[in-house]
Amino acid sequence: MPVLTTPGKSLVETIFDLGHSKFHTRRIMVDNIDIEAIAGKQGMLARAYTDPEVFKLEMERIFQRVWIFVGHESQVPKPGNFRRTSIGTNEVLLVRQKDYSLKILFNNCAHRGTRLCAAAEGNRTSFICPYHAWTFDLDGTLKGVPDVESYPTSFDINDPSLHLKSAPRLQDYRGFIFASLSEQGPNLIDYLGKMTDAIDNLVDRAPDGIISVDGGHFRVRYSGNWKLHHENANDTVHPGFVHESSVTAARQSQKGKRGKAEPIDDGQTRGMMASNGLSPKDWNTIELNGMSNGHSFMSGFYKSGLLAPQRDDDVTRTYRTALEKAHGKKRTDAILGMDRFNNLIWPNLNVNSQFHQIRVVHPISVNETVIEGYCFRLKGAPEEIFYRSIRFLGTLVSPASMIFSDDLEIFERIQHGLENGKLERLDHRRGMATDKPLNGTGNFHSTTSSELPLRSQRAAWKYWMSAGQ
């Protein structure tokens, strides 16, 4: 915020008052952000991506209220296991309790606020603050305070305000754990809606019905707003342009080098890179689904590669046999046949069931975001299937990915453009006339290169930013 302000008014606003209407998009209404105007009908105002005040409000109204993905049950298997994560800009710990239930605790001490766990994960019997050794139980209750006698009688160790703050609601869906910092709101199943299919499909792909996060993970940072990630994930028009360099390289190499040994991944990386070479004709064969609660997904995208549904090799056959043993042939066909890419659960999760992976979006500030990528081991599937998931994750989500690095570059260019350019409102109208409502659901679907997913996300944004005023 500028320094020279009159109370409740920023410098920019003062300039606006003086009639410099070109500053309109930079106007900051401190206590009265106009959600309706920002969401717009044709696209959002640029300040939705650039204004720290809007970001602050998003953290309060969206990230502190809706269901936020906080981890998978396999990441904290035993009592005392904890994992550090975040709900918006709040750092929290996901903790497995003594009775195997789960809890989200804020990672800062109730005494004078010190960060409790600097470790990203681990196992504890209690949380001891490094500053004055206040000791908290796994459930966040205060167990001990050194020299407690020196406190006045008003100090009661059982006072809940001296316990670690916790998330009032935590629920899991088949091992996927979500938390809400709000006492009220829709239950998780209603919130997820049709997206439970994506989670079901991922779990069902394990012959033994158990999946676990394994094989390490990535954390990738970009200087851009958190919304840009989900807006891009189901954008079917960009791949041909943004990923042109890797598409061209992959195609050239397919022509020239056929038959050459590729010990590392047997052509998977090359196949994935080539898959982005979509022409306008291809855009219109990808089916898009956009839900009124912000979620969206597209139909199959990576048609070649080691984990593609069309794949037929020894490993795939062994895997299929194991699945058929567990589910029968018909159901196995249905499970392996579900060809959906980028199942976006708004606002912070992307589930790629078919490739056994997820991405998690962590907003850091209005123009800084961290993306985490994880993959799963499917119990009962051949080890080689797990290696393929790892490979897929590396090809797509590594900071050095030949594909993702170009998306990250575009996110940063959008941010730069919005912060330094003159665009007042973005345009989100592509496909608006051809989106088809799915009867009675409030959901839409499209078989054109539609920006439907953006409109879904915008609708959810508008709802949560203004709901419960």
Partner: protein, 159 residues
């Protein structure tokens, strides 16, 4: 010069040449330094032992490295345009023999400058080198970044 000093000198010259190719953006020639079955590996976490059972920032054979070089040469490699300027500083080199091959360990500081922003990647590098006529070919180059496990911005120039 005794054999040990000679080897150390030759390895050092090779590593400096490699760094120079990377800094000049001659990625095709850099890939040529790899043996036909050579591997370039940047693990995703410190002390990573498993090449296949854990994700890597980069794990590529020579064909994939060629793909990487071809892509970087494309005018629309957006993350690489404008091209970052880099300097790979290679130091603390030591060499040992492993059968016919040479194991060279070194420390790396790589500074990247692009769009008015400076970034640094640092780490310990292990080269497994095969002796060939007039020099070496890379069997394995492993780069253990001290930043491994942290949040990275996009990486285009190989460390």
């Amino acid at each position: 010069m005794n054999a040990e000093v000679l080897l150390q000198n030759n390895v050092q010259a090779f590593l400096i040449h490699e760094a120079d190719l990377l800094d000049r953006g001659l990625f095709g020639e850099w890939v040529d330094l790899f043996d036909e079955d050579g591997i370039y590996w940047v693990p995703s976490s410190p002390f990573q032992e498993d090449m296949l059972g854990q994700v890597s920032i980069i794990l590529e054979d020579k064909e994939l490295l060629k793909l990487r070089a071809t892509r970087l040469a494309h005018p629309n490699a957006h993350a690489f345009s404008p091209r970052p300027s880099t300097v790979h500083l290679v130091a603390n080199i030591s060499t040992t023999l492993e059968g016919e091959d040479v194991i060279a360990t070194s420390n790396l500081i790589m500074t990247v400058f692009r769009n008015d922003k400076e970034n640094q990647l640092s780490g310990r590098v292990t080269h497994k080198l095969r002796k060939v006529l007039n020099g070496f070919r890379i069997q394995l180059k492993r780069v253990d970044l001290i930043q491994a496990g942290g949040a990275f911005s996009a990486i285009t120039v190989p460390p």
